[in-house]
């Protein structure tokens, strides 16, 4: 391999990495664990933003009670995230927020609807101040039945842990 080509490639990759990391919210490093999955057997799996970002991403364009107009949220599907810890087979899981608020949600929701753990809104990374870094988002605008108080309560933000019930 030509020496100058290898050096140039290395510099490019470093630049891309720095650019990616600069997109992350302030105070949260890409490698730092932002979500802990606690399966039925008690074993925990910590996931960083980098790992979550590496998963297939889905866009959900929807309205909700907390934002103005239709916002395009993007992040991994909840069923895929649960699948990392084998939790998609559970009947119900508990989502816990950074302020210890929690909500128990039947996993059937995640097979019926393309709910995501939103990491960006309209292309902007969700910081903790903007209900991030992870916000459980349902495609409310696509399903009229999701416009109810039950699902409003399930739009939990600042999610830090998902555990079995």
């Amino acid at each position: 391999m030509i020496p100058w080509f290898g050096a140039a490639l290395s510099a490019l990759l470093r630049t891309l990495l720095v650019a990616c990391l600069s997109l992350l919210p302030v105070g949260v490093s890409a490698a730092e664990s932002v979500l802990r999955l606690v399966g039925g057997d008690g074993r925990a799996l910590d996931l960083s933003l980098q790992e979550l970002q590496a998963m297939p991403q889905t866009t959900v364009a929807t309205e909700n009670e907390f934002s103005d107009g239709v916002v395009s949220y993007r992040g991994p599907l909840v069923r895929d995230v649960l699948g990392l810890a084998g939790m998609e087979r559970l009947a119900e899981v508990r989502f816990v927020a950074a302020n210890d608020y929690f909500v128990d949600i039947p996993t059937r929701d995640f097979s019926d609807y393309d709910a995501i753990l939103a990491m960006t809104a309209d292309g902007e990374r969700l910081s903790r101040r903007e209900k991030g870094p992870l916000w459980l988002m349902y495609p409310i605008s696509d399903h009229a039945e999701l416009r109810s108080r039950v699902y409003l309560r399930r739009l939990i933000w600042q999610v830090v842990r998902i555990e079995s019930r």
Binding site: G27, N64, E65, F66, S67, D68, A98, N99, Y101, S127, R128, R129, E130, K131, R147, S148, R149, L152, R153, W157, Q158
Partner: protein, 548 residues
Amino acid sequence: MTLGRPIPRYLGVVVLLAMAGFASVGFFSIRRDVENLRIISQDNTQWSATQMELELLRFRLSLADLAPRPMPETIAAMQERFDILWSRVFMMGHGRLGESLLRYDGEDGPVAGLAAYLQELDPILGDLARPSPGLAARLAGIEERLAAFQQELREYTLRVIRADSAAGDQVRTRIQTSARLTAVISLAAVLLSVLALFLILRENRRQREIAEMSRRSAEQAELASRAKSRFLSMMSHELRNPLNGILGPLALLGQSELAGRQQRLVVQAQQSGQSMVQMLSGLLDYGEVQDGRFRLKSEPFGLGALAAAVRGDLRAEGAGGATVTVLAGAPERVHGDLDRLRQIFVHLALYMVENRDPATATLSFGHDGTSLAGEIAIAASGELVDWKLDLLMDLREGSPDQVTAEALRPLIARGLIAACNGVLSLVETADSRRIVRVAVPSAAVRLELLRVHLETRSMALAAIYQAALRSDRVVFLPPESSDPVDIVLVDSTSVGELPLMARLRARFPSALFVSLGQPQSPEFFDDIVEVPNDMSQLRSSILGRLAS
């Protein structure tokens, strides 16, 4: 009988519109209230206000932990609590929930004040993590400000709870009002429906009564009309007998030797008598048409015979100067009611030539393949002719004003034309002639040779029958002929039937068997001429086969 006042149709439309209006008001009112209830039930304002208060308290606790031991964990915890509080406070004004929270806070409310203070704290938050001589005093100052916000947030939360409760009460009151309104509308709809039902039933009864009255009136009118027609027919019939009694002696008188003047008087009396017979016959038919007893015959007859009959009648009426012809190319024989057709054309022709030289009139008969067409042309013009034609064409059935002396013949003619399903029309001409055309549906007779075998022992009767039925299209085959036979005439009065009929049937299997006289075994025959010496009936029966 009282029929009541008819209900105006617009009243029904007004009632329907009123009911639709009531229903729309009720529907939209309930829908609006249900939507409001849904929105209020979704509102999370109380929860959000309480959470804001709680997060402020947690941040204050994290600051309190920071003062004695500014460790990385306590610094990180303080930073995290600040961010969480920030996310709660800055929800204000965003989304429907944020709008609700802002509405309760007002312009200079505690949440807005707290938001401003958090923005003030944000840049100096890093300084609090570093130990410094005045840190404790700074933290105490911050705590004092935050404690004040805590109390204000408490009041804000209470305000939100009370306002939510008031809004809920308001919606509940509106729903109660809507429910009451709906009940009133439903009651009104029921009452209107009952009223509408009552009105419909009343209208229905009124219509039935009107229909019953109309039916009775029509029946009475029909009965009266029939009685008059029957009376007319009977009178016509009864008048013809004495008339025949007059005409017969007149004919005999006319054949005797009379002086010229007496002869002319006799002829004049005969013409008047014939005219009366014509009119009575027409009246008889007209009466039958009117009371539904008219029966149209359909028998084959020759157009020449029709022309001859019309010519004879016109001559008898003193209008012998009129020319009556059959157009070249017309079929020789057609189907129809000869007597009625003759009456139609005689009445029309006499009407047209009345007070006019009969020589100016021409009658021509033709056939266009489906209808017999007769045209009466008169070489005349002027107001009188036009008036007569207008009267003829404008006559309407059942209009008493038009039953005048002049209109009797046109009335009879038009009644008979209508009964024959015919059409009367005027033909446009370029010259001064006036032409009236009558077209009556009529099929041309298919002319074929009729082969007849006569079975009788009486030579005299055989001669009489052959003479009576003599025609170009009737051929009497010799008894021993082996040619095909169409009709077998059997003299039932002079032959033994049973063995004879068996033999004849075997010999002429496809022929039509007609009994002359009442047979002993009618089942052997296809037709029976009961009175064989009535030659006109026999001729009509046999010649009728030519058309079939």
